[in-house]
């Protein structure tokens, strides 16, 4: 790909990359550093990039993810055991409650969700953000995080269940009758 074309593609994704970096780092200066490092590495690896249907965004996210976890001195992948949707769910993880969110006050939902998302385990939060904020498909998320597709499905579902449970209090306060999870 021509350098100028790569430049334009990469720059067009900067807001998305920064947004993701902000949610990972939770601090604007660190997010800016992450983004800068990501683009530096992207430039270095430009020759290996192939433009496909997915565009450059998942590729940049993958680099960002690697930069973030390298800096955090963690393994790039979360638990070594692949989570299998077919496996029996742990006893303490019930499905989240189910009700019509449209009847809630959105401002309150926003605040509660922000807090709840911030408190999610890291590997759930990253999947959630890639999916909900950046609109990546499951397969793209699996590629960014270098995990199995089933792992993405599992983490995403569990993250949503946790959030749904956190929002249940708000629903009850608002007088909304909720179904406390499907057995």
């Amino acid at each position: 790909m021509e350098r100028q074309a790569f430049r334009e593609l990469a720059l067009a994704e900067m807001d998305a990359v920064y947004r993701m970096a902000f949610h990972l780092a939770r601090e604007p200066d660190e997010a800016a550093d992450l983004v800068q490092e990501t683009y530096l590495r992207a430039l270095g690896a430009e020759g290996g990039f192939e433009l496909r249907e997915r565009g450059v965004r998942p590729w940049l996210f993958k680099i960002l993810h690697n930069v973030f976890y390298t800096r955090m001195d963690r393994a790039r992948r979360a638990p070594a055991v692949v989570e299998d949707l077919q496996a029996t769910a742990p006893d303490d993880q019930s499905d989240g409650p189910c009700w019509d969110l449209a009847s809630l006050d959105w401002e309150q939902v926003d605040q509660r969700l922000k807090h709840a998302i911030a408190e999610l385990p890291e590997h759930y939060r990253v999947v959630l953000l890639l999916w909900a904020v950046e609109g990546l498909k499951y397969r793209e998320i699996a590629d960014v995080l270098d995990v199995a597709l089933g792992t993405v499905m599992s983490r995403l579902y569990r993250a949503r269940s946790i959030l749904s449970t956190r929002l249940a209090d708000l629903a009850i306060e608002s007088g909304i009758t909720i179904d406390q999870g499907r057995e």
């Binding site: 350098r3 920064y18 530096l40 019509d100 904020v133 609109g135 499905m153 599992s154």
Partner: protein
């Protein structure tokens, strides 16, 4: 398959992630179980709620995220999380630099960049040297040990990159809130800040480099100062030097008052490091003789007391 195993598939169905066979299977469940449809709707709403909550920074004005915009065709408000303007400018400058700069061999490229070296090289050539020895001029009094292992490779890379970034975009430096404006007042300030004895003078004008700006920097550690110097215009060069100072807390295992090379003179941004009187110094430059001269000048200044 029990319900706890089915529900993730309902969520994936709500996300449009299932293949045809899986979709048909879920649709049959939705048809057969009254609660399944509600569960699918709830998952869709939850996704929208997460997206709208996380695209904005302060949760006040709500921005409709791009994935929803693509699907719904609605327009969004304007308070989404966006890359800061200065960050965008830095990265654009970085990309422009990569796009416009033609690759040149390391030594020849450095000579071209510094401009005036042709005259110096001619003198040395007349003296019997060859052009590339300009970058390898040695001082009889300067002991230097080449050791690339004393600093983690990642940190070396970060130092070089930060030098490039900040010298190209000086605003990148995060200035100290209470540092003095005058260079001559900085040794006492940074001695107190870093907990050691900084050299009595940080002025490099004697070797042709003017001080531009100082900022805080965490690359060498939790507490550090990064000074940038630019070649004086009358020198005919446009290169820069970065000087980092950090407390000597034992993290850099080298002999005191001995110069170590951690990035070679043949690299685009050579790096040297040394310890003196409670401070660890890192010099990064675009031109190897410049950092050698800078070291010699700093060391000659002696410690601040």
């Amino acid at each position: 398959m029990d319900q706890s195993q089915v529900n993730p598939y309902l969520a994936a169905f709500a996300d449009g992630e299932l293949d045809l066979a899986q979709n048909l299977w879920v649709l049959q469940r939705v048809k057969d179980e009254p609660g399944a449809a509600a569960s699918v709707r709830h998952q869709q709403q939850l996704r929208d709620a997460v997206a709208r909550a996380m695209v904005t920074q302060n949760g006040g004005q709500v921005a409709v995220p791009q994935p929803l915009l693509r699907k719904s065709g609605e327009s969004g408000s304007a308070s989404a999380i966006l890359a800061p303007v200065d960050l965008r400018a830095r990265i654009e400058a970085m990309l422009d630099d990569k796009v416009t700069r033609r690759p040149v061999p390391a030594v020849a490229g450095r000579i071209r960049r510094v401009g005036q070296v042709a005259a110096v090289a001619a003198v040395l050539a007349l003296g019997g040297g060859v052009i590339w020895t300009v970058a390898h001029r040695t001082s009889d009094t300067m002991e230097m040990i080449a050791d690339r292992s004393i600093i983690p490779a990642a940190q070396v890379t970060r130092l070089a990159r930060r030098h490039v970034d900040c010298s190209h975009m000086i605003q990148r430096l995060r200035q100290f809130a209470d540092a003095p404006d005058q260079l001559e007042e900085m040794p006492s300030f940074f001695s107190a800040y870093l907990g050691g004895h900084v050299y009595g003078s940080l002025d490099l004008s004697g070797v042709g480099y003017r001080f531009e700006r100082v900022g805080s920097c965490r690359i060498p550690g939790e507490r550090g100062a990064h000074l940038i110097y630019r070649a004086a215009p009358e020198s005919g060069r446009d290169d820069a030097i970065s000087l980092w100072m950090a407390p000597d807390n034992g993290s850099v295992s080298i002999k005191p008052d001995t110069l170590y090379r951690v990035r070679g003179a043949d690299q685009p941004h050579p790096i040297v490091v040394w310890r003196h009187d409670g401070i660890v110094y890192y010099l990064v430059g675009d031109y190897d003789p410049a950092i050698r001269d800078a070291y010699a000048l700093l060391a000659a200044a002696g410690g601040h007391r």
